[in-house]
Symmetry: C2
């Protein structure tokens, strides 16, 4: 039912585009187009008002993208009954680390059916560009250490919009279920009876692994991988079991550790981790300003990182590979790993 | 240049489809269509043979999807020069846990430009359906415990195809950089001078979190999350620091642990973890046969799991939320968490 024309310029190109589109559109979209064709003649009688018909078709088009397979008939009935106040919902969406190519299809579809998008300040413009044009975009972000974070305001806003029947997308950098406060947001929404769905994202640690082309669990070097945060609710190093964190057989990925990095490195060394343990400092991973810097735990103890940039610190033997000359880092944004280039030294 | 027609049935639907397509196609695609229009008149003279022209347009269409922005002119020159043996490459692609909606855009694009796809047996048909129709698909999978895994054969095949100028996609379930043997494959390919790229995927642990709507690092319950594997190279429990793994302040996600689950549970209890620690057993997550079962570490010690199904075991206080009656699990494949439904009891 959907046909593509490249104006006769390149039939092979048109065919290649069509193939790709078919895989990316919801499979039921042609059923919706057929239903539209059947409905059109009788709709003029049912809805004499032209504005009402236009509004109907807009709602119809949106429903085509969000209605689960097999529920088209029921959805069309609801639309025809003119129930203009649908049940609102909230989708927590993982925006990934920056590059829109790292979004999941589920995340893209959520963005493309959103009425309102509440996004953190680490979410990239490229990701926001994929959202439905009419969606209202609101920056609700809070950066680590900034005093003005009011989770209560975000919660109140999500609740109010969902109760108005809106599809609210809560867009969080990385994956929503790793750090951030998705747990609290979900608890609040479900307690209030709002439907919640989660579209996973590529968490920053895995984006770093993909960019470095290093397996975080390379079986010659690590028996597992651990994600921790570098700062506590109060801003300092979190009160965790640092002896456990210093386990050199497990790759350690530290989120939000720019401010506490030297303290963290000293603490790990005090708990027995070798100062020569390889470290990678990944800044703005997958963004145009991406930097992947290689150092050691000992050097990290004396370094000062820019606290205003999104940083992930990887610690462990797997990162020794990043040092090898043979490992090439391809793509835009960086050339090769400089051997030790930190923002400043204390 | 690309136009959509829904056969007059629903202009609003056509517009909604067009908007979505625009966000999903490479931005430069209209430049390629314009270039095609300019080229067409002179191509008949340049390439009098109709078959050669058809082959040219097929290569042209594929290039439109894989050429980086800004390099169209150079790519078209290369195509016109008839260099039919392009540089081969290998992309390691994360297939996610099963649901094709969890694929990243980068993964979809890699699948849609692949010449050959080497996939593991846990990769779902839905994911393979998104690949380019002409791509050759080869199951090279090895399931945990099956003796016939020959990594050397996979390596040889990837190398041979890439050297022939093919785009090889190595499609791995979950994220390629978490467990599996991507590290060894990358080492081998780069040592042989083959270009390697990585398209990250949603690792199973994060898919479980999304389906349960539970933050793995909910700050009221956990200070971090750790991914380990449940079986060693030899098949038994791996030789890791189990005292560290028994840290109840860190959420533990165990991959490939179906066979060793009871031994693992007993070991964690012996190292001091409470038998009442909440456990979730996630089977075939995000697939039609998905099961999310809730139990405790003590009960897991006496359970027998089906070793032929993909299982992820989550252990930690964050999963106590899964027990609460208020937490709803939406979507197809499961209704609610049964309180203790294991395959069998020893």
């Amino acid at each position: 039912v959907v046909s593509i024309s490249t104006d006769g310029a390149a039939p092979a190109l048109g065919q290649a585009i069509r193939q790709r589109i078919e895989t990316l559109l919801p499979p039921a979209i042609s059923d919706w187009a057929r239903a539209a064709k059947q409905l059109r003649p009788s709709l003029r009688r049912r809805m004499p008002d032209a504005d009402a018909r236009a509004a109907f078709w807009r709602r119809f088009a949106e429903s085509a993208f969000v209605t689960p397979a097999g529920r088209m008939s029921a959805a069309v009935e609801t639309l025809l009954a003119g129930k203009s106040n649908p049940r609102g919902k909230v989708t927590l969406v993982g925006a990934g680390p920056g590059d829109a190519e790292y979004l999941t299809l589920k995340a893209v579809r959520a963005l493309q059916s959103a009425d309102i998008i509440l996004f953190d300040d680490l979410v990239s413009d490229d990701v926001l560009d994929l959202a439905r044009r009419e969606a209202k975009r609101m920056l609700v972000g809070k950066r680590s250490g900034r005093p003005s974070c009011r989770q209560e305001d975000i919660n109140r806003l999500m609740l109010a919009m969902a109760r108005k029947g809106k599809h609210v997308v809560r867009l969080k950098s990385g994956d929503p279920m790793i750090f951030g406060r998705a747990g609290e947001e979900i608890d609040m929404l479900e307690a209030a009876g709002i439907d919640v769905d989660v579209a996973p994202g590529v968490t920053t640690a895995l984006a770093v692994a993909a960019r470095l082309k290093i397996s975080l669990t390379h079986r010659d070097h690590a028996q597992g991988v651990k994600f921790i945060t570098g700062h506590s609710r109060k801003g300092g190093l979190p009160d965790i079991d640092w002896r456990n964190a210093a386990d050199s057989s497990v790759t350690l990925m530290v989120y939000m550790g720019a401010r506490t990095a030297p303290t963290l490195a000293r603490r790990l060394i005090a708990e027995g981790m070798a100062p020569k343990t390889p470290v990678v400092i990944a800044t703005a991973v997958s963004r145009p300003a991406e930097r992947l810097e290689r150092t050691t735990l000992g050097a990290l103890a004396g370094a000062v990182l820019d606290p205003c940039e999104p940083v992930l610190i990887g610690i462990g033997a797997v990162f020794s590979q990043a040092a090898s000359e043979t490992r090439s880092i391809s793509g835009s944004g960086f050339s090769a790993l400089p051997s030790l280039k930190l923002a400043d030294s204390a």
